[in-house]
């Protein structure tokens, strides 16, 4: 008997379910992480090129466009952080504390709390060192 099955197309699959849209948003934030890595890399390169280049990079950072970009990047990074700590419980073996497995919410919460604490500590260090 010849089977005449019908295979449905995958075009536009990520628009079919809000879950997939959130997944694609999470993946897309990685591009912004890359963008910010390039901005920091440009700073290192300009530092190597000499004081004039470094001052120019600092001046660009203070421009309205760069400030707006940083505000946007802040929210994108916040979503990136949250979305990856949400998937983290799936990626690790069970964490057993006092004979009981720690739930996924506690793992996500601990990850987010650690990220917030590290960010605040970094801001405190920068503020203390600022001239």
């Amino acid at each position: 008997m010849v089977r005449r099955t019908y295979t449905r197309p995958m075009e536009g699959w990520w628009r079919r379910d809000p879950f997939f849209v959130r997944y694609m948003a999470r993946e897309a934030t990685s591009l912004f992480v890359e963008l910010y890595a390039l901005i920091l890399l440009a700073g290192v390169v300009s530092l190597a090129r000499g004081p004039a280049a470094y001052e120019a990079w600092l001046a660009w950072l203070a421009s309205p466009f760069a400030i707006l970009l940083h505000v946007l990047l802040f929210f994108v990074f916040a979503y990136h952080t949250l979305s990856w700590f949400r998937i983290m419980p799936k990626t690790m073996p069970p964490v057993v504390v006092a004979g009981r497995a720690v739930g996924p919410r506690a793992i996500t919460g601990a990850g987010v709390a650690a990220a917030v604490a590290a960010s605040l500590a970094f801001v405190a260090v920068v503020a203390a060192l600022a001239p």
Binding site: T5, R8, D17, F20, K90, M92
Partner: protein, 247 residues
């Protein structure tokens, strides 16, 4: 149809090979009561409106895994989804990412052919004969794999996995969860053989941690966890090749 009975429309994506080249939507209006599942709605259609409607079912109580289908776009078991939870129209379609055989029946050959490749059986660590009695296990040893043993092979997780839809070579969430179940079993000694498949291209690295498989699982097996935990193990195994005395 009794007077005053509530009615609901069931929109079925039908595919009738030999009659039409493409699937098409057909709407059936049926009376329903508070306790009727989508499966019972389909049975009403088949018994009273169109005997040619084709779908799989068996146990009616979420244990056989036969009646998986897309219900309003989400992979669900028709027997544990209720008509009362929908307003006006409920859309049903064959499980996504599988070829449609006819109406709501998919061709599951791919899943069935992959099943033996994960060696879903215990290969005893220390074989015992009948006179020696059963293999003993502590509650902790049981807990390590029990959740992954609840899989009913309903394939909802495959319909939830876009990576499987894009590349059906991927072993997929359900079978990797089952593989993990045997690898975690203290009586078993075949993890090394199964891990060949875990590390391969069609193994865990085809997964991009979408995580929807675990959302739709009707048995809380959490295949996303099984797949992603094996990525860690697979990465460690790769690095271990560079240690002296290995590889």
């Amino acid at each position: 149809m009794p007077d005053g009975a509530k009615t609901i429309r069931i929109e079925v994506l039908r595919y009738q090979p030999g009659e039409r080249q493409e699937p098409y939507a057909e709407v059936f209006e049926i009376p329903f009561t508070h306790d009727m599942s989508v499966l019972e709605g389909l049975q009403y259609v088949k018994d009273n409106l169109d005997g040619s409607l084709t779908y799989r079912w068996s146990c009616r109580m979420a244990i056989c895994g036969s009646c998986g289908m897309m219900i309003d776009g989400k992979p669900r078991l028709a027997c544990r989804t209720f008509l009362r939870d929908f307003e006006g129209t409920v859309r049903v379609e064959a499980l996504a990412h599988f070829p449609i055989e006819r109406d709501l029946v998919v061709d599951a050959s791919d899943f069935v052919e992959k099943l033996p490749r994960i060696r879903p059986w215990i290969e005893a660590r220390a074989p015992r004969d009948l006179a020696q009695g059963e293999y003993l296990q502590t509650p902790d040893e049981l807990a390590r794999y029990e959740q992954f043993s609840h899989c009913i092979n309903c394939m909802l997780c495959y319909a939830a996995c876009p990576q499987y839809g894009l590349d059906p070579k991927f072993i997929g969430p359900g079978l990797i969860a089952l593989l993990h179940r045997y690898n975690q079993d203290s009586r078993d000694a075949a993890a090394g053989k199964r891990n060949e498949l875990v590390h391969a291209d069609e193994g865990v690295w085809s997964c991009t941690a979408v995580g929807y498989c675990s959302e739709v699982c009707p048995k809380q097996v959490d295949p996303a966890s099984a797949v992603n935990r094996n990525k860690t193990a697979s990465a460690l195994d790769w690095f271990a090749r560079f240690l002296p005395g290995r590889g």
